[in-house]
């Protein structure tokens, strides 16, 4: 029943072509192609059997068990002057002791009261078999061990409380989706978060959670969404800070064009090629930070400490499209 409901909701979102569910911000983008959620996950969470989207639950609840949606302090992939750049998850402005719950059912596979971390392997397809290679990490916790490691937990279970990681960070909750198995230590597999919360208005239908998200091409026009959050305040990027890098298939050097700001953090630019041209492209968004050399993020994501131009390194991932 739960699986059926979830798939139905996913199908409904697809049927709504993204625009109905994602109002109001999506209105400015009306006329674009239907977002392809599977594409966004293709390279980063290649979960077998996932149809198009999933509606996860909030990682926090109040003491009555009701979901809460705290403001976002740092988005997934957001360039930072400290720590990992870009950010490997989303930071929520939770007070000390906020109950932390699984974003969906699964197994506690790791928890440490000295690392202040907890990782849950999701039962992504609801078959009660611990074989889905998708994990959610909760960090900077105050207290874990509400349930023994190995426990199967549902969204009703309090699994931790948010904290400050032994005083080393401001009090908040960090959570992020991880693929593949965390034990590999792979840095490049932290998954976009937006796709899990496209039905949550409090988080701008998921877009408050990722620095760059919702990149797509419609005809010859590429759209991206990028902005930062400071708790409840949206901080838009200055003009010129979002660029579309592009090249013909077979070319080695990237050209670029500045993307134009639309509303609600949307940016667009046209691929300067005739129809029928096969091109490769990626989007760069820069968060201005004084004295920081790593202030760029890319979509597709490029971990970690990406250069400020994809021409510096050959390892940047990209999308391929045929200009319409």
């Amino acid at each position: 029943m739960r699986t059926a409901t979830r798939l139905l909701v996913g199908a409904a979102i697809i049927a709504a072509a993204g625009f109905l569910v994602r109002e109001p911000a999506r209105a400015a983008m009306a006329g674009r192609a239907t977002p392809d959620y599977s594409d966004a996950f293709r390279d980063y969470v290649p979960y077998t059997g996932m149809t198009s989207t999933i509606n996860a639950y909030s990682p926090t609840r109040n003491t009555s068990g009701v979901e809460t949606y705290f403001g976002v302090n740092s988005k997934w992939q957001q360039p930072r002057s400290v720590g990992t750049t870009p950010h490997q998850g989303t930071d929520l402005n939770t007070p000390m002791g906020t109950p932390v719950h699984p974003i969906d059912r699964g197994w506690i596979v790791y928890q440490s009261s000295t690392a202040y971390e907890l990782i849950i392997q999701l039962d992504w397809d609801y078959d009660n078999v611990q074989d889905d290679d998708v994990y959610v990490k909760y960090d900077h916790l105050q207290y874990v061990n509400f349930k023994p490691t190995g426990s199967f937990v549902t969204t009703a279970d309090k699994v931790a409380t948010s904290g400050s990681e032994g005083g080393t960070v401001p009090v908040h909750l960090h959570f992020g989706v991880l693929y593949p198995k965390f034990a590999t230590g792979t840095n490049g597999r932290w998954a976009v978060t937006e796709r899990l919360y496209t039905n949550v208005a409090d988080w701008n239908y998921g877009r408050d959670l990722d620095f760059i998200n919702y990149v797509e091409v419609a005809g010859s026009r590429v759209w991206a969404n990028a902005y930062t959050k400071d708790n409840t305040q949206t901080v838009h990027l200055p003009a010129g800070n979002v660029r579309l890098y592009h090249r013909r298939v077979g070319a080695t050097r990237w050209d670029s064009v500045t993307m134009t700001a639309a509303s609600h953090g949307d940016w667009y630019a046209d691929l300067p090629y005739p129809a029928g041209t096969q091109v490769q492209w990626l989007v760069q968004a820069r968060r201005p930070m004084s004295g920081e050399t790593h202030n760029s993020a890319y979509f597709p994501p490029r971990f970690k400490h990406p250069d400020n131009s994809p021409n510096v390194s050959a390892t940047f991932p990209y999308f391929t499209a045929t200009v319409q």
Partner: protein, 195 residues
């Protein structure tokens, strides 16, 4: 056997509390007066603090890319585990000196602790083959901050932040004023006030 260990610890607690309750070093005459004043309260051992954990924070961004810090429990040589009484944690001075990079040569001169050739303004007590000292005061002598988290169920957690860890946090936080450890270290004068 179990009762014997317990009563032994009670004795340690009474003695430690008497020796270490006063947070700051004081002249010898004052110390005697302080010890006498502290004795009645220290003798009340009916209040057993819950078990506590002593951690050492080290800089390790390659392990924890989010915080850049990892914590591990401070080893208790010879079974000389830390203990908490009256909200003060006491631990083996040699173990503390070792993890704080101050060497392992620890001795007592009267009730004052000597580490290497430094005579500290910290009182200690010889017990169980070692010297016990109040963790916060001892750590401060070496520029380290002790963060205490009493909010966790099951007992308080005390975490030692050596100066290297403090400086790392100071250099690697976008909002250092919101970092509890940095705030506390500043209040104790271990870090300069912000300009």
């Amino acid at each position: 056997m179990r009762d014997r260990v317990r009563s032994g610890w009670l004795a340690v607690c009474v003695a430690l509390a008497a020796a270490c309750t006063a947070p700051d070093p004081a002249p010898a005459g004052d110390r005697a007066r302080d010890a006498a004043a502290a004795a009645p309260a220290a003798a009340d051992t009916s209040r057993a603090d819950p078990p506590a954990v002593l951690l050492l924070a080290t800089v390790a961004p390659e392990i924890d890319e989010e915080s850049g810090i990892v914590s591990r429990e401070v080893e208790a040589p010879g079974g000389r585990a830390p203990l908490v009484r009256n909200d003060t944690m006491y631990a083996d001075a040699a173990a503390l000196a070792a993890v704080l990079g101050a060497g392992t040569s620890v001795s007592l001169e009267g009730d004052r602790v000597r580490v290497g050739n430094r005579l500290l303004g910290v009182r200690g007590l010889r017990e169980r083959g070692g010297v016990y000292v109040p963790v916060r005061d001892f750590a401060r002598e070496f520029g380290a901050y002790t963060y205490t988290d009493r909010s966790r169920e099951g007992g308080a957690v005390y975490t030692l932040y050596p100066r290297e860890a403090l400086l790392y946090l100071l250099a690697n936080r976008e909002r250092p004023d919101e970092v509890p450890v940095l705030r506390g270290a500043r209040e104790e004068g271990l870090l300069p006030e912000r300009p």
